[in-house]
């Protein structure tokens, strides 16, 4: 009870702090000059923390085994959400000199230092997730989200890219015994990912076209997809949730595109057609209507023909009898 009260109080305090700091946080992107300065500063870090740096360290005595674990790809970083930020923004005290201070990692900025409001919303969802249930102590934002590579879905826009980025996060652990064992509770065995999804036709193709979270999160958060990752007991299993005219994909994978052209070439949910043909969801109502009419006309036609046959046969018979 007290713990809960403390948590709520903490949340209110953070919220107040964020609201007070909001103008300061609503940073404009850096000017070209500032960006150049940031890039120069980051280049000093990349001198070691890149493939090139690993191959040819700029100074002697670098622990290459440790360095290998902390490489950043410059282009991927530049394209990521944090790509215009200085490394030092998060990697502050203790990172200025090399070797870095032994306790430098402890001073690393936390996600909620900048994303306080988002973190509060997400934490409430995360607390209900299967990850919180099994691994609440060890599971952090960074377990899934690599701050050096992540790009928001709204920024990526291309559904294939969004799916590739997001599913990689899940599959990196759930499709690898080694990675799974690193963070899973002891004795917890990794369920074979293909076996538990064998009810889903064309499983791997589904995973190229939609994200795991399409089914494994509840559809309640209007601002973004929920972080309440659900296990098989709660996850969506009804195909028609996506495979129907009123497809939930519009509120999920295609939410950033859903405002675009929705009736290209007369297809409903036509924005989905750019990357996937979804049976039941991407239909052409004009074509459907035409074919239904044609079917009805054929049925009525043969029934009518049969009726005329019955009537004329009776008439002929009664004439013969007369």
């Amino acid at each position: 009870m007290i713990g809960h009260f403390r948590k709520t109080l903490w949340r209110i305090l953070v919220l107040l702090a964020v609201l007070a700091a909001a103008p300061a946080l609503a940073d404009d992107p850096p000017s070209p000059d500032e960006l150049a300065k940031i890039r120069t500063g980051n280049a000093a870090c990349m001198a070691c923390h890149s493939e090139a740096g690993l191959k040819k360290p700029p100074k002697e005595g670098v622990d290459l085994k440790a360095l290998r674990k902390y490489l950043v790809h410059a282009d991927t970083y530049a394209a990521s959400d944090h790509g215009q930020m200085a490394c030092t923004k998060c990697h502050g005290d203790g990172y200025d000199n090399h070797p870095h201070a032994a306790k430098a990692r402890e001073g690393l900025s936390e996600c909620q230092d900048c994303h306080a409001r988002k973190a509060m919303r997400i934490e409430r969802q995360f607390d209900k997730s299967v990850h919180a249930e099994n691994l609440s102590d060890t599971f952090t934002c960074a377990t899934c989200h690599d701050a050096h590579t992540m790009a928001l879905a709204s920024k990526l826009r291309d559904p294939h890219k969004i799916v590739a980025q997001d599913n990689k996060i899940c599959l990196d652990c759930h499709d690898s015994d080694l990675a799974f064992a690193r963070i899973a509770p002891e004795k917890k065995k990794r369920p074979p990912i293909d076996d538990i999804h064998d009810w889903l036709p064309n499983t791997r193709l589904h995973w190229k076209a939609v994200r795991c979270i399409e089914c494994h999160t509840p559809a309640e958060d209007k601002l973004s997809l929920s972080h309440e990752i659900q296990n098989k007991d709660k996850a969506e299993k009804k195909c028609a949730t996506c495979h129907s005219a009123n497809t939930s994909l519009n509120a999920r994978l295609y939410r950033h595109l859903a405002t675009e052209e929705q009736h290209k070439y007369g297809f409903i949910n036509s924005v989905i057609l750019g990357s996937s043909y979804v049976v039941g969801a991407t239909r052409n109502p004009t074509l459907d209507f035409g074919l239904i009419i044609l079917f009805a006309a054929t049925v009525v036609g043969v029934l009518g023909h049969g009726l005329v046959r019955i009537i004329t046969t009776r008439l002929r018979r009664s004439k013969k009898n007369d």
């Binding site: 009804k238 195909c239 028609a240 239909r283 044609l294 079917f295």
Partner: protein, 204 residues
């Protein structure tokens, strides 16, 4: 006194009825998938998908039986509309369906063991069996293995043209089925042709 003539060997009858069953199952499940609506499912989507896949593979097998059986027995010749006067004979047949039958006229080209089909039947059956059904089968197989479809086509998913061919072809087959069942009542008696499809004997 009715005359009996043996018209259809066992393999054709067995093929015909298994094919008919497969087509009906595919049509019902196919409609459930295409017009999928969680509020009023004809057959629930995942069940429909599973049945559709199995019945589809069975249909492929039956089609192979049809083609091979036709080649081996020479039955394929029945499906070839033979000149001269194909168009005239088709028109004559249509005229019979359109008016002659109402006046009690006799069937202009009744079936014989040598010529099972009238010209209109031959043309229709040939088109359905050698044009439309293969298109539906091939597009269905690509649907079953979508990794073989093109990735994109004209900026849209590459599966779209495959889906359209499958959908339109299936619609033609469903329209054919409705007319085919009705035309089955056009024998000497309403039941004659259905009886022939089971026993192989044509009574007239």
């Amino acid at each position: 006194m009715t005359k009996r003539v043996f018209m259809l060997p066992l393999w054709i009858r067995l093929w015909h009825w298994s094919n008919a069953l497969a087509i009906i199952v595919l049509a019902v499940t196919g409609m459930s998938l295409h017009f999928s609506d969680p509020a009023l499912p004809l057959v629930e989507f995942s069940l429909a998908a599973r049945i559709h896949n199995v019945a589809g593979v069975i249909l492929v097998g039956l089609y192979a039986v049809f083609v091979i059986g036709n080649i081996v027995t020479g039955n394929w010749w029945q499906y070839v509309p033979k000149p001269p006067g194909i168009i005239q004979r088709c028109l004559r047949q249509m005229q019979y369906y359109g008016s002659g039958i109402f006046k009690g006229e006799p069937e202009p080209f009744p079936p014989t063991p040598e010529t099972n089909f009238n010209a209109l039947q031959a043309v229709t059956y040939w088109s359905i069996m050698y044009l439309v059904l293969p298109a539906v089968i091939v597009s269905g197989l690509i649907f079953l293995y979508p990794q073989f479809s093109p990735d994109t086509l004209f900026g849209l998913d590459g599966l779209l043209p495959i889906a359209l061919v499958h959908y339109l072809g299936a619609a033609v087959i469903i329209l054919f089925v409705v007319s085919h069942i009705y035309l089955g009542t056009m024998g000497p008696k309403v039941s004659s042709l259905f009886k022939m499809m089971f026993t192989g004997w044509y009574e007239h």
